[in-house]
Symmetry: none
Subunit: 412 residues, 2 copies
């Protein structure tokens, strides 16, 4: 049974632009890993009328409401008071909560501020959800068909309480059935409509739901299944999907493109050097974002000036004069040059025109050449990407990583 | 008059934990800068019943609803269809919208996919909000007392449409009162509590509101004022604030650290070369993000391997042997070496330990050395930054740029 779950986050800072609400995504991830999906999330300010309207509406429409925030000691922490009023209960000093708060301060050898007592004022018959990491106890209320869980807004406290106290209760309520599972295939090089089209031609196994999302420049394909044989179903669906989308699937689930390339290089014991022009260090930056990149990355050259291409990469002046710095010949010379200079197994080069200026009729903005030099062969190819400067740079860098991935996985 | 505004974001990815909803914060920031506050934000999945319930409830309770997402060409883009049903309108092919979509593809010399026609199916009598940057036209509906604005979920498209098309309409609806004006001072090198403390010692001119925000690793100080002399008030407040925060203010409003450094280098006619170790190309990437970076950036070296530091930067083997690659001496040699190799006016170097591995008792994770070589002098300094790998890399790269900014502005 799939529960109808909603999240309510409160706090002025969430809606005045000071910060994004990240608790919703945290909760969704934790629940999603157990196969629960959130149906709705609301963020509202520290306003009594708004909180009451949200609690009232959501408790009527959902089976589970997870609320975060508003449990602190200050005057703008309103959640417990408003919850009591919304559900027609008195606000009472909860002895168990007070004891927990006192214990928290005692363990830290800190004096308890009188205002922290306010955090023990909870709706009558609330069930305490202890907080190991902070002063604000959480609580549980049942109203009609709805279970409401009130947690603090501090992410690390909220996460632990959700895992230790809310998730077991959800599992019990959903009858202990195995919930929905999800598998995400990450795709690069096909637009979302083209990905969808391929799935229209190839129906998935019965019982697998299909969804799509875009995280520029990637498309995410989401496969979901429930029941006892969900794993097997998803395995079959993944195989199906991979076949249909080959060679465009670069990662599964939490994996990333740069992370997979880094792992494959490390596993293969191969070394790499980079020569970047229009991406200006973006490929190097993406790879060095991965811990342990020094295992395989020897060096990277950001060669904006032609002199740098000559000095460091031995690109012949003749190529720069006749073909130009943005050309097949230059890309190839850069890849070979960086490989030779660094003495690495692989040399990868990117040169192009990211714009907004610098385009010509022959080579408009978006013209990009990639080259890969390996012990066995030399590859070079031209592209015409579209988008603004930032997008062209990002697509180019991802395509460069994708070249490595395909080379390393023999996917091409 | 203060409008009662709510935001609705749709998309499975917002509630399944794949990504945080950042559009709410973007909208809140943009509205906040004009003195509008949002009262509530809801995120729901691509589910017809949920979208309908939210539109129905929110349009009854709010004066303005800004909806983002669900305007794409695929089957899970439901917003227009559900909006039509919710407000009892027919879904019709909107000629103006279709013409805009066709024009968008024509300008890019791309073929229009037949399914993009779906994006022109809008509720009857919807007023088109043109989209300069993407295929999905937005639209406006009035229902009862509520103005509903439907925008695409892609942040860059959404932001431009909000600024150019929604804000003027909000201004009109709120009676054309002069809204609040905002000026943002961007601060690097002081924590938020420390920034706040400095303002406690220095009251702002009467009529200026003060707000703070954190955008890692920066702190934003927001000055707001209304009325006819808002500009003059903000000028005075800015002067006050700058004096108190010197030399930590690196940018105002839409300016960025890299953008300001790029402009100052270009204006001064100075050239630069970079040598990066732990930042792995991040400094180069931030600078080359700015159009026209080839004016001043000659080259960058990402020298992970010691061999690269020797070959390209002439770092003496003796320094690597005795002091190590993460040392004052190595940083200084890198800065001098890259400046000499490139023949530029300035040479900037970063070397450090970003972690999670590689720390020692002497040089724990977060140990970073910066060096700047200039015609007049050599500077080098060690830091101990805290945070995870990503944070340490980002702070280091920003500090390197900040060195350039202070050198170029004689701010130090």
């Amino acid at each position: 049974m799939s529960l109808n779950i909603a999240v309510l986050t409160t706090g002025d800072e969430l809606i005045n632009g000071e910060m994004s609400d990240t608790n919703t995504a945290r909760i969704a991830l934790l629940l999603g890993a157990r196969g629960y999906a959130i149906r709705e999330s609301r963020a509202i300010g520290d306003d009594e009328a708004d909180i009451e309207a949200a609690l009232s509406d959501m408790s009527a429409r959902r089976e589970v409401v997870i609320s975060t925030g508003g449990l602190g000691p200050t005057d703008d922490d309103l959640t417990a008071r408003v919850a009591a009023r919304t559900f027609g209960r008195r606000l009472v000093l909860n002895d168990e909560a007070l004891a927990q708060i006192r214990r928290f301060f005692a363990e830290k050898n800190k004096e308890m501020h009188p205002r922290n007592e306010k955090q023990a004022l909870l709706p009558q018959k609330a069930v305490i959800l202890p907080n190991r990491l902070g002063t604000a106890p959480g609580f549980h209320l049942r109203h009609g068909q709805c279970d409401l869980y009130f947690l603090p807004g501090v992410p690390r406290e909220m996460v632990v309480m959700l895992e230790e106290q809310v998730l077991p209760r959800l599992h019990e309520r959903s009858g202990g059935c195995s919930p929905l599972q999800e598998r995400i295939l990450k795709v690069f090089g096909l637009s979302e409509p083209k990905v969808e089209e391929r799935f229209k031609q190839m129906p998935l196994p019965q019982g697998v739901q299909l969804g799509f999302g875009v995280e520029f420049p990637f498309v995410h394909v989401k496969l979901r299944a429930g029941g006892d044989n969900a794993d097997a179903l998803l395995d079959r669906a993944e195989l199906h999907a991979r076949r249909q989308l080959q060679p465009f699937v670069f990662a599964i689930g939490q994996e990333s493109l740069a992370g997979n390339v880094a792992r494959m290089l490390t596993d293969a014991g191969l070394t790499l050097a980079l020569a970047e022009s229009c991406t200006g260090g973006m490929v190097a930056q993406m790879l060095t974002d991965i811990p342990g990149a020094s295992q395989f990355l020897n060096r990277g050259a950001v060669t904006y000036a032609n002199a740098a291409k000559r000095d460091w990469l031995q690109v012949p002046q003749e190529i720069l004069d006749t073909e130009g710095a943005v050309s097949k010949a230059c890309a190839q010379a850069m890849a070979q040059g960086i490989r030779r200079a660094a003495g690495t197994d692989l040399g990868l080069a990117v040169t192009g025109i990211a714009g907004p200026d610098g385009g010509t009729p022959d080579k408009p903005v978006g013209t990009v050449f990639l080259a890969l030099s390996t012990p066995g062969e030399e590859r070079v190819q031209g592209y015409r990407f579209s988008g603004d400067r930032e997008q062209i740079r990002r697509i180019s860098a991802c395509m460069a990583l994708e070249w490595l991935r395909r080379y390393l996985s023999n996917d091409d």
